[in-house]
């Protein structure tokens, strides 16, 4: 383990103050999808629906293209973005698979075999060397 800096964890966005401030409107858009009528309105006209939320052009594009990791990078939080996934009919497990770049069955197999091990996945250095 290398010190106490969570920025050194690979493949992970810690939802801290900086991420939260940046992602506020993106996440509040996702939050609105808790309501069935909003899910319908969004699916009927995504661009018009997104106009209600003053997110950045980058965030908006990440939503429209369902670039899940990019949404997280831009301040999205998984419990919010998962509401967009739910709107698309994507489960938590399939969403996780997409974000790792694995196909759905391979991810499921990995989980059945015990999941992604901690060895080799602790620090960014592990990934750079791996």
């Amino acid at each position: 383990m290398s010190g106490n800096d969570y920025h050194d964890i690979p493949g992970t966005f810690v939802f801290d103050a900086e991420q939260s401030r940046q992602g506020y409107h993106l996440n509040m858009f996702c939050m609105s999808l808790r309501q069935a009528k909003n899910r319908e309105a969004f699916l009927a006209d995504e661009a018009a629906y997104l106009d209600r939320y003053p997110m950045t052009a980058e965030q908006r594009q990440a939503v429209l293209s369902r670039d899940w990791n990019e949404m997280l990078r831009l301040g999205g939080n998984i419990y919010y973005t998962s509401k967009l996934a739910a709107t698309d009919g994507i489960t938590f497990q399939d969403l996780a698979a997409i974000m790792t770049g694995m196909d759905r069955d391979a991810y499921r197999e990995m989980m059945l075999a015990g999941g992604r091990p901690i060895e080799g996945n602790r620090t960014k250095g592990d990934w750079d060397n791996g």
Binding site: D8, G11, V14, S82, A96, T100, G101, Y107, M110
Partner: protein, 279 residues
């Protein structure tokens, strides 16, 4: 006087709720998950709590970025199961215990815990999945429920030590309630899992088993685990485990481990489950 008669820790994976709601519990994938809860189903049926005090977290359901309470204590008469995006779970309305909940609220605020009192709140899988695991699929939940929602979504959650100390204050509050009543305290969430980004799927059984051991026998050591260790070693969502420390604090100094269950995976998550009894 009210009495804490047991502690019940469990993961609260949403897919477990789906498996129960869709009658998949006997499928090969799910059977080993649920097998570990059979013992505790019988245990809680015998213990017959009047109230379960459920420490859980809201997952951007009742609370959003508009308002993020570190500790939100439910003092309401009832709580509706929420639609989290996939429709509401087909489970009974949760009935609260306003009298005991308010008693706890007053006691812990005077003990210098800065809680938020909540009287209007929907509850998500974080609370309802543990109820389903403990009580199955009744037409009505067999006891009152006091929800304590802990922030673990917005960094930073409360420290492990703060959670343990808060549990102790909750114990003092419950034990000073002047009515006979049996209370079981639930700690929920975890164990190791990461739901997000390129490292999703992380599972760390060594961390989890060590956490279970420390939680039972050396809670101060468990409480000293810094946030970064959870995030790194148990996955970004593994930090939910701090909530188990609230339960542990409420059980008193020494406990007897009555039951342990550990299984990988349920969806993206390592499932852990403990039943404890105060000594």
């Amino acid at each position: 006087m009210a009495k804490i008669v047991g502690g019940y820790a469990t993961s609260h994976v949403p897919a477990i709720g789906v498996a129960i709601d869709q009658a998949k519990t006997e499928e090969p994938y799910w059977q080993p998950v649920f097998a570990g809860y059979e013992w505790s189903r019988k245990w809680i049926e015998e213990v017959k709590p009047d109230v379960v005090f459920v420490v859980y977290n809201d997952h951007a359901t009742a609370f959003s970025l508009e308002l993020i309470p570190t500790f939100a204590l439910g003092c309401a008469a009832e709580y509706a199961p929420a639609d989290e995006g996939w429709g509401a779970r087909p489970v009974p309305t949760v009935h609260g215990h306003p009298e005991l909940a308010w008693h706890i609220a007053q006691s812990v605020i005077l003990d210098e815990f800065d809680i938020t009192i909540v009287n209007d709140m929907e509850v998500d899988h974080g609370l309802t999945v543990p109820l389903s695991l403990a009580f199955g699929q009744p037409h009505a939940w067999p006891c009152a429920v006091i929800p304590l929602a802990v922030n673990v979504v917005q960094y930073p959650p409360p420290t492990g030590n703060r959670c343990l100390q808060f549990g102790k204050a909750i114990r003092k509050a419950i034990e000073s309630f002047p009515h006979d009543m049996r209370v079981v305290v639930f700690g929920t969430g975890g164990m190791s899992h990461q739901l997000q980004a390129q490292r999703a799927g992380l599972i760390n059984p060594e961390f989890d088993q060590r956490f279970l051991d420390l939680l039972v026998n050396d809670p101060d050591a468990a409480a000293a685990i810094p946030h970064v260790d959870y995030l790194r070693d148990a996955g970004s969502e593994g930090i939910e485990l701090v909530m188990w420390l609230v339960m542990r604090g409420a059980l008193g100094d020494d406990v007897k481990e009555l039951h342990r269950h550990y299984h990988v995976p349920a969806s993206n998550t390592a499932v852990g489950h403990l039943v404890l009894e105060p000594k």
